[in-house]
């Protein structure tokens, strides 16, 4: 019976929040996800309002709310910012 023991996949995600987003959750934490999640789902899990997120990066690559969070990644949330 190869499938008698349910296969459980956990994802470890290093999270960092920047700027005023820190008031909503801890600045740095390691999150263990029991299932595959989108960036938006993780944001809500952390207590962030997706509307207040300006920029997202996964392993340094600019990402979007609907992207899936990969295994063992670094996920950063920034408030709305602009360069100049």
């Amino acid at each position: 019976m190869p499938f008698s023991v349910p296969y459980r996949c956990t994802l470890s995600v290093e999270i960092e929040l920047f700027g005023q987003l820190v008031t909503a959750a801890e600045r740095q934490q390691i999150l263990t996800l029991e299932k595959s999640m989108t960036v938006q789902e993780v944001a809500i899990l952390l207590g962030l309002d997706p509307e207040e997120i300006g920029l997202i990066s996964i392993n340094g690559v600019q990402s979007e709310l609907e992207d899936l969070v990969p295994q063992d990644c670094r996920l950063c949330f920034f408030p709305p910012i602009s360069g100049g």
Binding site: F18, G19, Q20, V22, E52, G54, L55, S57, G60, V61, Q62, E64, C76, F78, P79, P80, I81, S82, G83, G84
Partner: protein, 570 residues
């Protein structure tokens, strides 16, 4: 309104009615047209045929929030092409209130003498300024405000401008005793020095606003515009720009791998945490300095700070992102106090912190000092102010420094150093550097923070994004608006149209505004073409096409054919 024409050879200062062809131009737009009409594009940038122009934007003097920037323009000694660089402070607000649409400085004195231009409500005259020779911009501003009143505005150059260094900028004072506003880029401080003009002193006007053609339309649109700034999530009282200043982006630029580090050899600085906007705010508040202050009267964003030392003593008027990038991580420095000290010296000598930071990065790569060694770096910078041989090399910017020390990794385009975004991992900015008539200049079209449009690491869509941003930048720079004020006018260009129509009654439409913006770029491109600049002069440095940048191992791979096609849709 009138044009103030200042002939440094004859010492004549004359008021001229604004010719009809210039009536509907301001700031960068007016500079481009004046240069095309009055300066031979092939002229020596530091010779008598170049002209130096000071021009407020179209909205200047009207009291529109963030619209008080002063544009300064001329042929750049650094790029060999057209240059517009702008600064906050009070000049962009006071000149229109005195009826001055632009100051045009032409020719050169016959002797090696310095002058100051004094502008009052009724008069404008050149006065000897030999007593200011060798003074930095802080001492020059202090002395002239003591002489002419604390409410006067002082525009000045420091030692770098007097030495005709290509890295020299122009300082503009602000409200009360505020300093540290600089029209820094392109070496226009050297052009001012070449004219023998040490300073301009402008009396505070008695009038509260410029004449308005339709005051109801103007007041309502300006009010909505200010309210939109206040409500903007980036710019309002709870926004990053206000809370952390321009340094709010240090962490994000580092995270995406575009933060210039040790002469652009990496896009990621291991100690960037110490340079972040969050750290800047924390330090300033702990030491009882100031955050969230203004560089222009009536600015609703207020992203400026007063950076103080451990004893609460001011080090520099405002510490900004570009300086933190070019004089912090780019030099391997992880201490904001050190960056602030370097910034103060640059401001005092009248040096562009971007150009000088890039030149210092090259000097460090050449082994003149070690990355991260603050005292050695400071001593190199002191030499620029002292005008030693080595100081003159560094003060002439990145390209000259690279050439003298045999360093091939020179982060510059069209002779001008890159600002704080490595183009290998933020390719939209690379396209702007490689195509803007202004050379490597982030204010000409900054792609950082663009979401859902393009992948910063990808090639697709960069050319269209850069063009869109360059057109918007031309509008901001011609109306006197701050770069950060763009969200409301991008979302609703009619707001800008209404504010312009409210002042001038021109009956512009959004299409007229769009044509106006595009014409600015066309005029600039034409000036550069006549100056002999070709697309080949605009290329991103070759090493950036094959030396991968950590952490993404990115190279600049936007094809030349894409770069050359950017303006085909202009």
């Amino acid at each position: 309104m009138y044009l103030l024409r200042v002939n440094m050879k004859s010492q004549q200062v004359s008021r001229e009615p604004v010719p009809q062809k210039y009536e509907r131009l301001g700031g960068r737009a007016l500079i481009a047209r004046l240069l095309l009409e009055e300066a031979p594009p092939t002229c020596d940038a530091l010779g008598p045929l170049n002209i130096l122009i000071f021009a407020p934007g179209l909205l200047g003097g009207g009291g529109v929030s963030t619209a008080g920037r002063l544009s300064v323009g001329g042929k750049s000694p650094l790029t060999g092409g057209i240059k517009e660089t702008n600064a906050g402070g009070t000049a962009g607000d006071t000149l229109p209130k005195l009826g001055v649409k632009a100051i045009i400085v032409e020719e050169q004195p016959q002797r090696d003498e310095l002058y100051l231009l004094r502008i009052t409500a009724d008069t404008a005259e050149l006065l000897p300024a030999g007593d200011l020779k060798g003074l930095g911009t802080y001492a020059t501003s202090d002395r002239l405000q003591e002489r002419y009143g604390p409410d006067s505005t002082v525009i000045s150059i420091g030692q770098a401008g007097e030495y005709l260094m290509y890295g020299a900028g122009i300082a503009v004072t602000g409200e009360r005793d505020q300093r540290s506003n600089h029209a820094a880029r392109g070496g226009l401080g050297a052009v001012m020095g070449s004219k023998g003009l040490k300073a301009i002193v402008i009396d505070k006007p008695t009038g509260k606003s410029i004449p308005l053609a339709d005051s109801n339309l103007f007041r309502e649109s300006a009010r909505i515009f200010a309210q939109k700034l206040i409500n903007d999530p980036k710019l309002g009282k709870q926004g990053s720009q206000h809370l952390y200043g321009t340094a709010s982006i240090v962490a994000a630029v580092n995270e995406i791998g575009s933060l210039p580090t040790r002469n652009f050899s990496s896009g990621n600085f291991e100690n960037a945490t110490e340079l972040r906007g969050e750290r800047l705010r924390e330090l300033i508040l702990e030491r009882e300095g100031k955050v969230g202050t203004r560089c222009m009267p009536g600015c609703a964003i207020a992203c400026r700070n007063s950076y103080v030392d451990d004893d609460g003593k001011p080090i520099v008027g405002t510490l900004q992102y570009e300086t933190i990038a070019l004089m912090g991580s780019n030099l391997g420095l992880d201490n904001l106090d050190d960056v602030a000290r370097l910034n103060y010296l640059c401001n005092d000598f009248g040096l562009d912190t971007i150009e000088t930071g890039a030149a210092l990065g090259i000097a460090l790569e050449a082994g003149l000092a070690k990355f991260g060694d603050t005292e050695s770096i400071l001593s190199l910078l002191y030499q620029v102010g002292d005008g030693t041989t080595l100081g003159r090399v560094i003060g002439n910017g990145a390209v000259v420094t690279g050439r003298v020390f045999g360093i091939r990794r020179v982060p510059a385009v069209l002779g001008q150093a890159m600002p704080g975004y490595d183009p290998r991992s933020l390719k939209g900015n690379g396209v702007t550097y490689a195509t803007s008539p202004q050379g490597a200049d982030h204010t000409a079209g900054n792609a950082f923070g663009a979401r859902k449009e393009v992948n910063p690491l990808g090639v697709q869509g960069q050319r269209e994004l850069s063009l869109k941003l360059q057109i918007i930048a031309a509008m901001l720079d011609s109306t006197g608006l701050c770069l950060f004020a763009r969200p409301p006018v991008i979302a609703d260009p009619q707001l800008m149209v209404d504010m312009v129509n409210g002042i001038y009654g021109w009956g512009w439409t959004k299409e007229d505004l769009d044509r106006f913006n595009r014409t600015v770029l066309r005029d600039e491109i034409e000036f550069n073409r006549l100056a002999g600049i070709t697309p080949a002069d605009h290329r991103i440095p070759e090493y950036m096409r094959y030396e991968p940048l950590a952490p993404h191992n990115a190279v600049f791979d936007v094809p030349d054919s894409d770069l050359d096609a950017v303006f085909s849709a202009l």
